[in-house]
């Protein structure tokens, strides 16, 4: 469903709260020399053979710019993706490359001023969407290395204020946007009272553990309600655990590895303690790769449970004939947004399409779709950085241009921060296309 009146009000409140995040930040004081030294050490400890091969292979062709929504939207060459690796390249060339004795002669050392300038390049103007990696004729995985640059800036005390507030909050409290267990309990009772939806809590012996996120608890409760309604309808054994439910990982988004570790281990420990077979991540893009791909690396061995995003899980149920949906009376044309972290970084493409087909909707693909999908413009935490608002609006317009070209009457999305970015982008650009949660659509159309 699109946003109803109570959700619109919640959206306004939530947007206001997000706008004020910056005011809560305390500055990180660090002498310039220390920043540079910590950044260099971080670069050197993270550079591995894959990255070395990639950095050695670059021919400076600049084609990656033509894949990047921030460059396409602004035509400002400073946002060229490979340029975002310039500091990393220089540290590699001077200190690690097999030809360092030569490169040192003409490669400048990095400076504290450059590290500060790089904040805008690796946070504000990069959603780590990975489209540039697929463009590169040399096969350089640019986006993966931009993510490493975020970790380096985090080491140098240069996480943007908004993301730092979120990261510090999650490290301290284990939750985001103050969506602690009390607020979760409130939302669960609210959904029970208003919609009659039961959410099993801490149920021993469950097969499935469902995660949610502060964004869904505060704002997009239709996604949480929809998940519960469909799982109850399917009759599977599932629960939400109050001591490990937050799927978002602001350690990953900010580049702070300690927080990433703590937040990921909280989920893993809870899942192991409860003995579940599957952990389902909510409509929160980055939470999927954060657990599905990076979880095992943090845990130190393969995870003893499967990880699926809710769109993947429900899509599989539809594809296996276990979940029947009511087909729309009239063929409505919709467009689908593949969230980068669930699609390009996650490998989930056919499942949401199977759901749309089962709903009897007519999918008009955007010109760039599946692995080539454009990001919404606000991923990887960019939707929270105040000063990035004009930039992400440009990126939003690139995306929305392709959506409008499909002639769709509505847009289907399975990521809360994408929804948030679409909703704010729509207001600023006077767009009116309704944006629907995939899981909420499924929940509204369950066939008995």
């Amino acid at each position: 469903m699109s946003m109803d009146k109570p959700m619109q009000e919640a959206f306004a409140m939530f947007y206001g709260m997000a706008q004020n995040l910056k005011d809560l930040a305390t500055p990180v004081e660090m002498p310039d020399e220390e920043r540079v030294s910590r950044a260099k050490q971080a670069f050197l400890s993270k550079l591995d053979a894959d990255m070395a091969v990639d950095l050695e292979t670059c021919i400076n062709c600049g084609m990656c710019a033509e894949a990047c929504h921030f460059y396409i939207g602004t035509e400002d060459p400073k946002y060229t993706p490979i340029r975002k690796l310039d500091l990393m390249k220089r540290v590699y060339r001077r200190d690690l490359s097999p030809m360092r004795w030569l490169h040192r002669l003409y490669t400048k050392d990095i400076t504290a001023k450059e590290l500060e300038d790089w904040q805008e390049l690796v946070y504000d103007s990069c959603t780590v969407c990975g489209r540039c990696s697929l463009m590169c004729p040399m096969g350089i995985h640019i986006a993966e290395m931009v993510a490493v640059n975020r970790q380096v800036l985090a080491e140098a005390g240069l996480i943007p204020d908004e993301l730092r507030v979120m990261q510090e909050g999650q490290l301290e409290k284990g939750t985001i946007f103050e969506a602690g267990p009390e607020l979760l309990e409130f939302r669960i009772n609210d959904l029970k009272e208003r919609l009659g939806i039961d959410i099993p809590i801490n149920k021993p012996g469950s097969d499935i553990m469902v995660l949610t996120s502060g964004l869904d608890i505060h704002l997009f409760y239709d996604a949480l309600a929809g998940t519960a309604k469909v799982l109850n309808h399917l009759g599977v054994s599932w629960a939400l655990c109050t001591h490990g439910y937050e799927a978002a990982n602001f350690g990953l988004l900010s580049g702070d590895e300690d927080t990433q570790h703590v937040a990921t281990m909280k989920i893993i420990d809870t899942a192991i303690e409860c003995g579940v077979k599957i952990v389902i991540t909510p409509e929160c893009g980055h939470s999927f790769p954060s657990l599905r791909w990076e979880g095992a690396e943090i845990y130190g061995k393969p995870l003893p449970f499967d990880v699926m995003s809710i769109s993947e899980y429900l899509g599989r149920q539809v594809m296996d004939g276990k979940l029947k949906l009511k087909k729309a009376a009239e063929k409505k044309v919709v467009a689908l947004h593949d969230p980068c972290k669930i699609g390009r970084w996650g490998g989930t493409f056919e499942e949401p399409r199977a759901i749309i087909d089962a709903l009897g909707l007519e999918l008009h693909e955007t010109e760039s779709n599946r692995e080539y999908n454009f990001c919404c413009g606000g991923g990887a935490g960019v939707f929270l950085i105040n000063r990035a608002a004009p930039l992400r609006q440009k990126a939003y317009e690139v995306k929305m241009g392709e959506i409008k070209d499909t002639g769709a009457e509505s847009l289907v999305v399975s990521c809360g921060s994408c929804r948030m970015n679409f909703e704010t982008g729509k207001i600023k650009s006077n767009d009116t296309i309704p944006v629907d949660s995939l899981v909420a659509l499924v929940a509204e159309n369950l066939a008995s």
């Binding site: 053979a49 600049g62 084609m63 030809m99 463009m135 096969g139 350089i140 990076e294 699609g343």
Partner: protein, 217 residues
């Protein structure tokens, strides 16, 4: 020792040694650094195939990308193909390779080679102008890009001049041509021309990583 003797002899020999040793150091120095064992369960287990597939498929851009990089992409192909046609199918080059390796193959008419060489040089000049004027290329270009451009173009120009008896007398032009080849060989391990070898492992890595996640890169 004449200039030609020097070019044919020690210059070429040493350039080949520097090229071979330098390239090995650069390739193995990078590829044999540490890498972590991946622990997450793959979505698709045949990632080796995915890696090799990307080596092939990245030869052409995806249709949705192609329209935005058309000029650069095709211009790149034209000069690469032109360069290898002149290198491998010019009859005097074939004679030279026969002397070195003892094998030969049919060549192309000299006029065809000259036209190919001229087109290759013209495209390289056009790409240099683009590099110096396009805002994206200007901001990311380094001295390596200009050196690599120069050492790639020089053998084409000097070779065509020697064949056409332009500039100095033939023996001198031939010596200059051979020296330009020596410079090209020497530069390969130090600059971005190393991509002629690294493009394959780099594409492979990305293809394999995405394949593990169930994504065709």
């Amino acid at each position: 020792m004449t200039l030609l003797d020097f070019a044919r002899g020690p210059a070429l020999q040493w350039s080949i040694i520097i090229f071979a040793v330098g390239t090995l150091i650069r390739l193995f120095g990078a590829a044999f650094m540490l890498r972590n064992k991946v622990l997450s369960k793959p979505r698709k287990s045949d990632w080796v195939r995915g890696g090799f597939r990307t080596i092939l498929t990245r030869t052409l851009p995806a249709p949705v990308f192609e329209k935005r990089i058309r000029f650069q992409h095709y211009a790149g192909y034209i000069w690469h193909i032109g360069f290898f046609i002149t290198l491998l199918f010019f009859q005097l080059h074939i004679l030279f390779f026969k002397g070195l390796f003892g094998i030969s193959w049919p060549g192309l008419p000299n006029d065809v080679i000259m036209v190919t060489g001229a087109i290759t040089a013209a495209v390289l000049v056009a790409l240099l102008v683009r590099r110096m004027t396009n805002p994206v290329l200007r901001i990311i270009s380094t001295i390596d890009d200009y050196i690599s451009w120069l050492v790639t173009l020089a053998p084409i120009i000097t070779g065509m001049m020697a064949y056409a008896h332009m500039g100095f007398r033939y023996e001198t032009m031939l010596a200059i041509h051979l020296l330009s080849v020596a410079v090209l060989l020497v530069w390969i391990p130090f600059g971005k021309l190393i991509h002629i070898f690294l493009v394959f492992p780099s594409r492979y890595q990305q293809g394999a990583k995405f394949e593990r996640r169930g994504v065709r890169a």
